[in-house]
């Protein structure tokens, strides 16, 4: 494998600048996405509705730890035929579909613009600026099939496929720096494209129940189906029959679930 000797100027003026450009563009994208975040206007009613739904869900999941009477009392409050909460409350809601609601549309557009467009633009610019020379060598052997993809602009037929051009170095940077962003910018950063794309794909499935009537109806049905299974039925015998290990229970430091 012929070892090429490359000019040091390439290292100084091509490799390093591409790294810096990719990293800084990512950081800028994070801050731009923060600035462009549209205000989510929440009314008091919306907040209280979502809290009611959460309370009902908690009741369904943890109902087995409270006595049967208490559970039935709460279920009655929600599901009673005449004046249960889910039966009574009808909200005047216009369900916003993604096409007609302007705020959701602009959100989608903003997401697309801030993420995909810079990558394409800068990739094209780098390809145009830094073209015509070999940039670096990837340490692993690649087959000849990759040559036209990775060596755009270099017209040598017998050159190893491991010697790549600057465009492929740029894309390698983009993919590699993705996880570095969560190191440096903390969680929930706006520079991590893969997470955002994942969210977009799953967000289409779980459309926000801005249609609270439907959510109430679904919750009512689910609560109807829930039965009270008293999980603490034999709790007295359980506790009495085993050795109670109360050693560490009242000390100052409890082992927490934080790794």
């Amino acid at each position: 494998m012929p070892e090429l000797l490359l000019d040091s100027n390439i290292r100084l003026w091509v490799v390093l600048p591409i790294v810096f450009i990719t990293f800084l563009v990512g950081v800028i994208r994070h801050y731009v996405s923060i600035l462009l975040q549209s205000d989510k206007k929440l009314t008091l009613e919306q907040v209280s509705d979502s809290q009611v739904l959460i309370r009902s869900r908690i009741l369904r999941e943890n109902g087995k730890y409270i006595p049967k009477q208490s559970f039935l009392m709460r279920k009655f409050y929600f599901n009673n035929q005449e004046d249960g909460f889910f039966k009574q409350t009808k909200r005047k809601v216009v369900p916003p579909s993604p096409m007609t609601d302007p705020s959701m549309l602009t959100d989608m557009m903003k997401g697309n613009v801030t993420n995909v467009l810079p990558m394409i633009l800068i990739g094209g610019w780098i390809n145009w600026t830094f073209s015509g020379f070999v940039t670096t060598k990837v340490p692993f052997p690649l087959t000849l099939r990759f040559k036209p993809m990775l060596q755009q602009g270099i017209e040598l037929l017998s050159l190893d496929a491991s010697w790549v051009s600057s465009a492929s170095w740029y894309f390698l940077n983009v993919f590699g720096l993705r996880s570095m962003y969560s190191l440096i910018l903390g969680q929930d950063n706006g520079a991590d494209q893969s997470r955002i794309m994942q969210e977009q794909m799953s967000g289409a499935a779980m459309a926000m129940p801005a249609d609270t009537n439907k959510a109430f109806k679904a919750e009512w049905e689910a609560l109807e189906l829930t039965d009270h299974q008293w999980a603490l039925e034999s709790v007295e015998e359980d506790l009495m029959s085993r050795e109670l290990d109360l050693d560490g229970m009242f000390s100052k430091e409890l082992p927490s679930g934080i790794f």
């Binding site: 993919f175 590699g176 008293w230 082992p255």
Partner: protein
């Protein structure tokens, strides 16, 4: 008041915040390790298959260390131990390849 006795299973009260925090810590460890081992591989001049084997070895060592740190109370922090082994391997691979190529280029090509 006869209800069916429900069998009590394992820890049911899971704090969302803690789960997310623990996953973030794992991610942090994995990314840092990938970056450092990539730099090491580049400086050492590993090529081809050796490089990937080095990544797998270092990932495995990280998993061992994490299990050692979690100790006997891994049950309290993680749902399953498999997550400690395989969490974030592919993301780490990309970071590893990036740093590997970068340092290899810096040291051996120029």
């Amino acid at each position: 008041m006869a209800g069916v006795v429900a069998k009590r299973e394992g820890p049911q009260f899971i704090s969302e915040v803690s789960v997310r925090g623990n996953a973030a810590v794992l991610d942090y460890c994995r990314t840092s390790l990938s970056a450092l081992s990539g730099a090491t591989a580049g400086i050492l001049g590993l090529t081809g298959l050796y490089g990937f084997i080095f990544y797998l070895i270092s990932a495995f060592l990280l998993s061992l260390l994490l299990i050692l740190k979690a100790g006997r109370r891994w049950n309290k922090c993680f749902k399953s131990r498999r997550l400690l082994f395989t969490g974030g391997l592919v993301g780490g691979l990309f970071t590893y390849v990036l740093f590997w190529t970068f340092l290899y280029g810096m040291v051996h090509v120029y």
